[in-house]
């Protein structure tokens, strides 16, 4: 590989963003760049940004697809507030992404695409390349399409086909700029194309190299180096949240010995979990694409009744439909894993955007007294461990458990240190066996879980259902005192899950001015903002909750070690309300509902401001 003659500059962290038409392969370029960056040993975080349409008209504003990555030589936690470099494949991409670039940042445009038609589709009267509008940025006009076609000359493929390789040109250019290794991508091209379409493989490789070489010769400010981060040793892979979620479920199945039954109905952004799990039939995973969300959850309840690990997965509107059935799972005290990959709401809302506004629904959203434990993932990789934990608790406590992810976690990816399966906490399943004299609603004294009896077991025939049960026998009971008692037992069982929760960790100062409490995918922005605020002199700490119901028993005392409590959420203040109600602590919200992660700068400012309040 050629190395550049230019002076290399070391950078701490860089954010780059690829943007183009949905048909331009920007997600692919972004994913490849991510892998190469991971291999280069940087810490990183990514943000894919899809259009809502399947395939909006080419060149149109709604058709723009983007992918952002931040990578660094130190720990980083977010895909970056602003891009240092934006790669723009057409005018529409420039139009919709310009506000994501920092002032003074670099913009690389595919100048071939700035035709009159495309400019018009993007709503430009004059080309922004020709007027003053971009003067605050370093603009590089690169005729990417021409160069791409040039690079494939001599191969017998039509120029229309050749043009589709242009994302690899952009990728090659960025690889050069940030000195990423290209082996991984070259191997990927071969794996994907060599067997079936060797010409395409060759074309892509040539174009990739042409991009690199172009960077080498053009004066684009190449040769930036972001040295490797100090990352704990181990084997890594890059993982998307939805994949981690699916793997966590399979791991829970293997470790518990229970076959997974997934009852689900497709919905953005949860569908991929159905797709991925349907490929794991060799693990005995049964995926059932139901006729609707109600059937999905009910079939999962049936599976759990039959002695399987019932799982259902959906997003806001679909979760809403499952509400009634969750009451049944709660009443019959069967294990059930309910995954909600949250999206923008209410109603159909913003299906492709992220949001954290379903926490109230998870904790409170059922008829009757019907507490359900709630566990949330913090990052794409964390989805593995946290969903595993959710499954473990569902089985151990014989209860439905809500697992919350969101669109940002689902489609985002990060390097994941692959755990040793044997190091995962054990999941013991203890079906009642023939001959044991157990009543269906007898309970474990520690967990209050009832015992699980598998149909087919001789001598233990019994009936369960949604009517109130008599204590121990599980027969129908209309007795007032029994109802009060059972309602409290079910609540107490869920409350006891607190005994599973490890001591609350604070990242930052052990006490002081502001504790920032978060949950879910805001992990990265909060961590970054707390660090920034501490650098600016605030005594602050970050507490990130995996367990949202019940809350950790030590949480109140942790919060009380700080003068102020700030709760940033991508909603209008749900966890903050719950903390207030539980602890009578004046938890303040920092809330935005913009379908996007927080900007670290804004959050840092909020911490600074609160720390100054007396």
């Amino acid at each position: 590989m050629t190395t550049a003659a230019h002076i290399r500059r070391e950078l701490d962290a860089v954010t780059i963003r690829f943007a183009g038409d949905s048909g331009d392969g920007m997600q692919l370029a972004g994913e490849q760049f991510t892998s190469a960056t991971a291999v280069a040993g940087n810490d990183l975080a990514t943000l894919p940004d899809f259009p809502a349409e399947i395939r909006a008209p080419a060149g149109s504003l709604p058709g723009v697809s983007a992918f952002q990555i931040q990578f660094a030589s130190t720990d980083i936690f977010t895909p970056g507030d602003e891009a240092d470099v934006l790669v723009c494949m057409n005018p529409a991409a420039l139009k919709t992404n310009l506000n994501t670039v920092r002032r003074g940042g670099t913009i690389i445009v595919n100048s071939d695409a700035f035709t009159e038609t495309n400019l018009k589709k993007a709503g430009y009267a004059v080309s922004p390349l020709d007027d003053e509008s971009l003067k605050e940025y370093a603009i590089h006009k690169v005729p990417i399409e021409t160069l791409t076609i040039e690079a494939t000359k001599g191969l017998e493929i039509p120029s229309r086909t050749a043009k589709t390789c242009k994302n690899f040109f952009a990728l090659g250019l960025m690889y050069h700029m940030y000195q990423r290794p290209m082996e991984e991508t070259l191997a990927f091209i071969d794996a994907k194309f060599l067997a079936k379409t060797p010409l395409i493989a060759e074309a892509n490789k040539r174009v990739l190299n042409a991009g690199w070489n172009f960077g080498d010769t053009a004066e684009l400010g190449s040769g930036f180096v972001v040295p490797p981060a100090r990352i704990s040793p181990g084997t890594y892979r890059n993982i998307r949240g939805n994949d981690a979620l699916a793997l966590g479920i399979v791991a829970a199945s293997v470790r518990s010995g229970l076959p997974v039954f997934l009852g689900a109905y497709p919905i953005t952004p949860a569908s991929d979990v159905l797709h991925v799990l349907s490929q794991y039939k060799h693990f005995g995973v049964r995926t059932f694409q139901a006729e609707d969300e109600i059937a999905g959850v009910c079939a999962a309840i049936g599976a759990s009744f039959g002695g399987g690990l019932g799982v259902t997965i959906s997003s806001g509107p679909g979760i809403a439909l499952k509400t009634e059935a969750l009451g049944l799972a709660h009443m019959t005290e069967l294990p059930l894993l309910v995954c909600n990959v949250q999206r923008g709401g209410p109603s159909t809302g913003l299906p492709t955007k992220t949001e954290q506004a379903d926490l109230f629904q998870a904790i409170f959203g059922r008829n009757g007294e019907c507490p359900i434990p709630v566990i949330a993932a913090a990052t794409p990789a964390d989805a593995f461990e946290s969903v595993y934990e959710a499954a473990r608790i569902a089985i151990k406590y014989m209860t439905p458990v809500f697992f919350l992810s969101d669109g940002y976690i689902a489609n985002g990816s990060e390097p994941w240190k692959i755990p040793d399966p044997d190091s995962l906490p054990p999941i013991d399943v203890n079906f009642v066996k023939t001959g044991e004299t157990v009543q269906p609603y007898e309970r474990d004294p520690v967990t209050l879980a009832r015992r699980w009896v598998k149909p087919g077991t001789p001598g233990l025939e019994h009936r369960i259902g949604g009517l109130e049960k008599a204590d121990k026998t599980g027969n129908i009971s209309y007795d007032p005192d029994n109802h009060d008692k059972m309602t409290r037992i079910r609540a107490e069982k869920v409350a006891r899950i607190a005994q599973e929760i490890p001591p609350t960790e604070t990242a930052g100062d052990p006490d002081g001015d502001v504790v920032v409490v978060g949950w879910g995918s805001t992990y990265g922005s909060i961590e970054a903002a707390v660090r920034a605020a501490r650098l600016r002199g605030v005594r602050a700490a970050h507490v990130h909750l995996r367990y949202l119901n019940p809350l950790p028993s030590d949480l109140e005392s942790v919060l009380r070690r700080f003068r102020k409590v700030l709760v940033p959420e991508i909603n209008l203040g749900q966890l903050s309300f719950i903390l207030r109600g539980k602890y009578l602590i004046d938890a303040r919200g920092f809330n935005q509902v913009r379908g996007q992660p927080f900007k670290v700068a804004a959050l840092t400012q909020a911490i600074m401001n609160l720390s100054e309040e007396t």
Partner: protein, 347 residues
């Protein structure tokens, strides 16, 4: 509906059961005189006869008077929520295909709130049996009209008469591609028992509509079909391979230009013209025609309208799982290490 091998794991011989073995200690809480009692007795008796262990039966129901059924069957049982028994049973059957799964539902539970799940259950063809208790009324909620109530019916919610055209449960089932469709009624225990047994033998989803009298809110809804005096003329007792005769052989059903017609023997035609019932007809048309006729214009068909054989959902699914398992080892370590991985060394 069964896997005819006995379910795995039992070494002992099948016990000799009696009806009492299938009776629970729970007080039966239907109204005195309710048709549900007769069905319960028939099913309990039949259970004692089937070569199936008690613990391998599961009765799954929704909500309604009829859906109380599982509480009275000394087997495994699940009284789920309104309209969803079919969905719960699907997950159960996939999870343990060795179980003998019975779904008990009502005309409201199965055709009103649960209509969609029923339709999809039937097309998927799980090896389960659906007993739909049709009393043409909502019993448990005290007497509103149901999707099978006749036009103009005055009920609590339709004081001036209902205006929704009723559904034929059998037509809905056939419209959904059901593989086994039949009809019987509460008090004809022998006929009902025979049909349920056939359903149990059928591999695939069996759908049985059971006319059931609700003596409190819709008494006598089926007397015109079932009462002794007129039942010969009012019922078309279907038997495979037999002519579709009724009214003591005086009348029959013929198909003319694709349509079912009643002929009086010796008047509009001869026994020759009367159609022969083919319960296993590959073509669905005639079964559907039968599903849409009823008294008074036609005799009401009783018995098995149609059974066709088609692989069950769970067998296809488990075949895919087997195939996948043959091709690929279930190695969690390998799975977690899938895709591109890299090592970070100590430094």
């Amino acid at each position: 509906m069964s896997d005819h091998d006995l379910p795995g794991g039992h070494d002992e011989p099948l016990p000799k059961y009696t009806k009492d073995d299938f009776t629970t200690d729970q007080d039966v809480r239907w109204c005195p005189g309710c048709g549900d009692y007769a069905v319960l007795a028939t099913v309990q008796k039949l259970m004692a006869e089937l070569p199936v262990r008690r613990e391998d039966h599961v009765f799954v129901s929704g909500i309604g008077c009829s859906s109380r059924f599982p509480y009275y069957m000394n087997t495994y049982g699940f009284h789920t929520i309104h309209g969803r028994a079919t969905a719960v049973a699907s997950g159960l059957k996939i999870t343990n295909p060795n179980l003998h799964v019975w779904i008990v539902t009502g005309d409201g539970d199965g055709l009103s709130i649960g209509g969609n799940h029923l339709m999809h259950l039937l097309r998927r063809n799980f090896d389960v049996t659906v007993l739909l208790f049709n009393n043409r009324i909502y019993g448990l909620t005290k007497g509103q009209y149901s999707p099978t109530s006749e036009l103009g019916k005055r009920t609590k919610s339709t004081p001036m008469g209902s205006i929704d055209y009723p559904l034929s449960p059998l037509a809905v089932a056939l419209g959904s591609g059901a593989s086994f469709v039949g009809r019987s009624y509460d008090v004809d225990g022998k006929h009902l028992s025979g049909l349920i047994r056939q359903a149990w033998e059928h591999k695939g989803t069996s759908f049985i509509e059971i006319y059931q009298n609700c003596n409190i809110f819709n008494d006598g809804a089926f007397t015109s079909v079932t009462e002794k005096a007129s039942k010969d003329a009012a019922q078309l007792r279907l038997e495979h391979g037999k002519k579709m005769l009724f009214d003591g052989g005086r009348k029959g059903i013929a198909f003319q230009e694709g349509r079912p017609v009643v002929i009086t023997l010796g008047v509009d035609g001869t026994e020759e013209d009367v159609a022969t019932h083919d319960a296993f007809d590959a073509d669905i048309s005639r079964a559907f025609a039968l599903a849409n006729v009823q008294v008074p214009e036609y005799p009401t068909p009783m018995g098995l309208l149609r059974a066709v054989s088609r692989p069950t959902y769970e067998s296809l699914l488990h075949a895919q799982i087997d195939e996948a398992q043959k091709k690929k080892k279930a190695d969690l370590h390998a799975l977690l290490h899938g895709g591109y991985t890299w090592k970070v060394e100590d430094h």
